[in-house]
């Protein structure tokens, strides 16, 4: 509450909003804990971005709405056993018999109130319920995939950069290239054969404990790990050739100290900027992995909704993905300004 109030109170002075420099220097005089939140550029930045997000969502909603309905076959047309009379009544019950423009306005109005309607194909649930059940699962999968991507990627990148040109470097980068090239369902197939069928240490599929997430998260994270490894290597090599590193070495610091205290911060910048697209990619890229490993997350719902012409659920997933990707990118942008002082919000 207090923080919010402070934000509100600080909106007024116009000169601070205009100049990022001024705000930053002002911020320096603030009590420590609050600096981050009282920076005016941040608030303006957030408001602006949220405005854009609302517009983006509306465009996505409109496009998806009409695209979905332009594909042949509706949600109830696929059930062969329905007689024509029953079909007509079901279409009427879900407004599917109304003109498209009217349907659009009805759905838009409902969406604005946060009601995405019932799922056409899972009649026991509303779209909101299905998504609420799916998000934590996809998120858990994504988070672990990201942890894999970062730990494996950064470690491999660092080792490569240190042993530049050596055997280790070349083999790690070969693996990374393969990792980028292989689609994750191929990786999944290989891993299942290895660790489920031949050496049964992981379950084949379904949702359960951490063991159930290991393989899917690895498959999902692997291409990103490979990418992170390459980025880390490039970034580190770039930094290691800088003058200040030579200075650090000249001061007599050990290799490890130079690496951790001086080189890492600069060397990881490319990885940080890759985080935005990576998070977005991991979240939206889980469709195939979720299907192979039967993870009841958003990806599975999204694919099935498209196949089943479950308009409402498909729309819910599209909007949710848009929001997630947008928010993640926003967070990464903000995070970047914290890590790299040269970057300012605008």
């Amino acid at each position: 509450m207090q923080k919010g109030a402070e934000e509100e109170a600080q909106v007024d002075p116009p000169e601070e909003v205009e100049s990022g420099e001024g705000a930053a220097s002002l911020g320096d005089q603030e009590p420590e804990g609050f600096t981050f939140f009282s920076d005016h550029p941040l608030l303006t930045f957030l408001l602006k971005r949220l405005g854009w997000m609302a517009l983006t969502l509306w465009i996505v909603f409109t496009l998806s709405f009409f695209l979905m309905r332009s594909i042949p076959g509706g949600p109830f047309d696929q059930e062969q056993n329905l007689s024509a009379e029953v079909l007509a009544k079901y279409k009427a019950a879900f407004y599917l018999d109304k003109p498209l423009a009217e349907q659009y306005l009805l759905h838009l109005r409902n969406a604005l109130t946060g009601d995405l309607g019932p799922s056409y194909k899972m009649a026991d649930y509303t779209v909101n319920e299905i998504m609420a059940a799916g998000i934590p699962k996809s998120l858990a999968l994504g988070v672990i995939a990201l942890i894999f991507a970062l730990t494996l990627g950064i470690t491999a990148g660092l080792l490569s950069a240190i042993k530049r040109g050596g055997f280790l470097d070349r083999s790690l980068m070969t693996v990374a290239t393969i990792g980028i090239a292989l689609p994750n369902f191929v990786i999944a197939g290989i891993l299942i054969l290895l660790f489920v069928i031949w050496i049964p240490i992981f379950p084949a599929a379904t949702w359960g404990d951490y063991k159930h997430l290991f393989l899917p998260a690895f498959c999902l994270g692997a291409p990103f790990a490979a990418y992170v490894a390459r980025l880390t290597r490039t970034g580190m090599l770039d930094v290691l050739s800088q003058d200040y590193i030579r200075t650090a070495r000249a001061k007599g610091l050990s290799d490890a100290q130079v690496l951790v205290r001086h080189a890492l911060k600069g060397g990881l910048l490319p990885v940080i900027s890759f985080l935005g697209p990576a998070i977005a990619g991991i979240l939206t890229g889980s469709l195939v992995v979720e299907k192979i490993f039967q993870i009841p997350g958003l990806g599975t719902h999204f694919v099935q909704a498209a196949i089943n012409r479950d308009y409402t659920l498909a729309m819910g997933c599209v909007l949710l993905y848009t929001t997630l990707v947008y928010v993640m990118n926003l967070l990464v942008d903000i995070g970047y300004t914290i890590i790299d002082p040269r970057v300012k919000l605008e």
Binding site: N81, V86, Y90, D124, L139, V196, A204, W207, G208, Q294
Partner: protein, 549 residues
């Protein structure tokens, strides 16, 4: 320095957030293994009998509810369910069911004839009918009520006494008792449905009358059932817990079966059938389904229509089709090549004692002669390129390729293959926007009518443009005929007509593809591939021995 601290805090915060998220999401996810786990291959549309129309829904609903009659697990003939006995009037139009006195809902409420009256009226509700509503048009004034023309009280469904349920039919219906065990006609608990109109089918509210209770349900994850102690025949139910998984991908399903998670997998990937056939736990059996090609008799393109609407041309297509090569080279699970629409094994129609109409075997010579004859009569030399439409799937494609090859090389036709994704394919078929289209039908009940009435004029699943008043009248006459033998003869005539006119080209009849653990007992092969879990049990001894090995 402050930047540094911010930076470190940011990194730490991110790391904690990531870990916290992971841990949180996994909480409470682990469940202990159920006595019996099977893959249902899809998330049920609903647990409301009114809203469902598919095989996977049937498997779940038969656990949670029970109809007036039950299916015998081996023969599938109707046996007492909620009704302990029944009488049929002499004209075959009035059924009087006596509901068993110890019939109860899972919350302990007694189940009475009123429950069926309520449920069946709800089934026909003009505002929001059941997906299978047409089933109860069989009942006097059922159709009128569905159309909103008469009040529900006029429908031929009554409960003159608490345990007596009377149904009046428009005409005698040979398979009515079978219908009473069909899952859409299961009863629902009125008080719960009315108290929670939108959420009554959720585990927290659910009240059923079947052998199992709905303990938990997580979307596209699992349905957990537990034995229902209130069930009238609870003593016969031997499984305490059942898990139902909705794994759509059959490769994943097979992995789950092979690693011991599943006790029963309901289908298998096409690619591995030859390998699976070597196993004892994979035994395909005849299944009540037909695979066939539809032909568009009302093609909009006049060039194509000339050929497609000529029965001789269609007969040539049939005669040149190598069904043996398809079942032996592509499907491989022991499917039978078909020479008729109705699959074999239907009691009193295509069982061992009866010989339904059938087409001749493959005959290239005759096929070529017919093509020449058609060409000559139409005065054309060239037949336009025809497209075979199928929904995207490896095995449909392989089958179409075999056919393309025979029709191409054998008959000199130009055939193109076209695949469409399921929804689009269905829409094309419905709109008669195809030349020749891959099709299949799984019977709802073990009676030839479920196949033959597809092709009545304007039928919702006709999709060929076939319309013949004589055919329609035969189907109608069969529906009214109470005598089993006479009825069979009428239906034979109808199928004969269909095979003469050939709006469809029969290809093969289906087999079941169940993978079942050897220690699963009370699981019997049958034509409809229906396996009520009420009768299933685990032979612990056999299981221990097998696992010990």
């Amino acid at each position: 320095m402050r930047r540094d601290r911010n930076r470190n805090l940011f990194a730490l915060g991110l790391a904690l957030l990531l870990l916290g998220g992971g841990v949180l999401a996994l909480q409470g996810a682990t469940v202990e293994r159920a006595d019996f786990t099977f893959n249902n291959a899809s998330e049920p549309q609903s647990l409301d009998p009114k809203v469902v129309s598919g095989v996977p829904e049937g498997r779940v609903l038969r656990c949670l509810y029970e109809g007036l009659t039950n299916m015998h697990p081996k023969t599938l003939v109707p046996v007492p369910g909620m009704a302990e006995r029944w009488e049929v009037s002499e004209d075959g139009r009035t059924y009087t069911f006596h509901i068993r006195k110890n019939a109860r809902w899972s919350n302990g409420d007694p189940l009475t004839a009123e429950d069926f009256v309520y449920s069946w009226r709800r089934f026909l509700d003009p505002a929001m009918p059941a997906k299978y509503a047409q089933l109860l048009w069989l009942v006097v004034k059922g159709r009128d009520f569905f159309d909103g023309k008469v009040p529900s009280a006029e429908v031929g469904i009554r409960a003159p006494e608490p345990h007596t349920f009377v149904v009046e039919l428009v005409h005698p219906t040979a398979y009515f008792l079978d219908l009473c065990s069909f899952y859409p006609l299961f009863p629902v608990h009125r008080a719960t449905v009315e108290a929670h109109p939108k959420t009554w089918s959720k585990p927290r509210n659910f009240v059923g009358n079947g052998p199992f209770l709905l303990e938990a349900r997580t979307i596209r994850d699992r349905i957990r059932l537990r034995k229902n102690p209130q069930y009238w025949d609870a003593d016969s139910v031997r499984l305490n817990t059942v898990d139902i998984l909705p794994v759509e991908d059959h490769v994943t399903g097979l992995n789950l079966y092979l690693t011991g998670v599943l006790d029963w997998e309901t289908d298998v990937p096409q690619q591995v059938i030859s390998d699976l056939l070597k196993r004892d736990d994979f035994q395909p059996r005849a299944y009540l389904g037909s695979y066939f090609y539809r032909i568009n008799l009302k093609h909009r393109n006049p060039e194509k229509a000339r050929f497609l609407s000529d029965p001789r041309f269609r007969m040539a297509l049939y005669l040149a089709m190598d069904r043996k090569a398809i079942v032996e080279g592509v499907t491989k699970a022991g499917e039978l090549p078909s020479r008729a629409l109705v699959p074999p094994g239907i009691p009193n129609y295509s069982d061992a004692r009866h010989q339904p109409p059938a087409l001749p075997e493959m005959d290239m010579e005759k096929a070529r002669a017919l093509i020449e004859e058609v060409k000559k009569d139409l005065g054309v030399d060239k037949i336009p390129t025809l497209k075979v439409l199928y929904n995207t799937s490896e095995s449909h494609k392989n089958i179409a390729e075999v056919i393309q090859q025979r029709w191409g090389q054998g008959l000199g036709l130009k055939i193109k293959l076209e695949n469409q994704e399921w929804g689009t394919y269905q829409a094309s078929q419905k709109a008669l926007d195809y030349d020749i289209s891959r099709s299949a039908w799984i019977g709802d009940y073990a009676d030839a009518n479920t196949f033959l009435d597809l092709f009545v004029s304007g039928g919702g699943n006709n999709h060929t443009g076939y319309a013949d008043p004589i055919y329609d009248s035969l189907i109608e006459a069969a529906a009214r005929e109470a005598d089993r033998d006479k009825r069979r003869e009428i239906l034979y005539k109808a199928e004969e007509m269909l095979l003469r006119d050939l709006p469809i080209i029969p290809i093969y009849s289906y087999v079941t593809k169940n993978l079942v653990r050897p220690w699963v007992k009370g699981f019997y092969p049958n034509l409809q591939n229906v396996h009520p879990l009420k009768f299933v049990w685990i032979d612990e001894e056999a299981k221990k021995n097998a696992e010990g090995r």
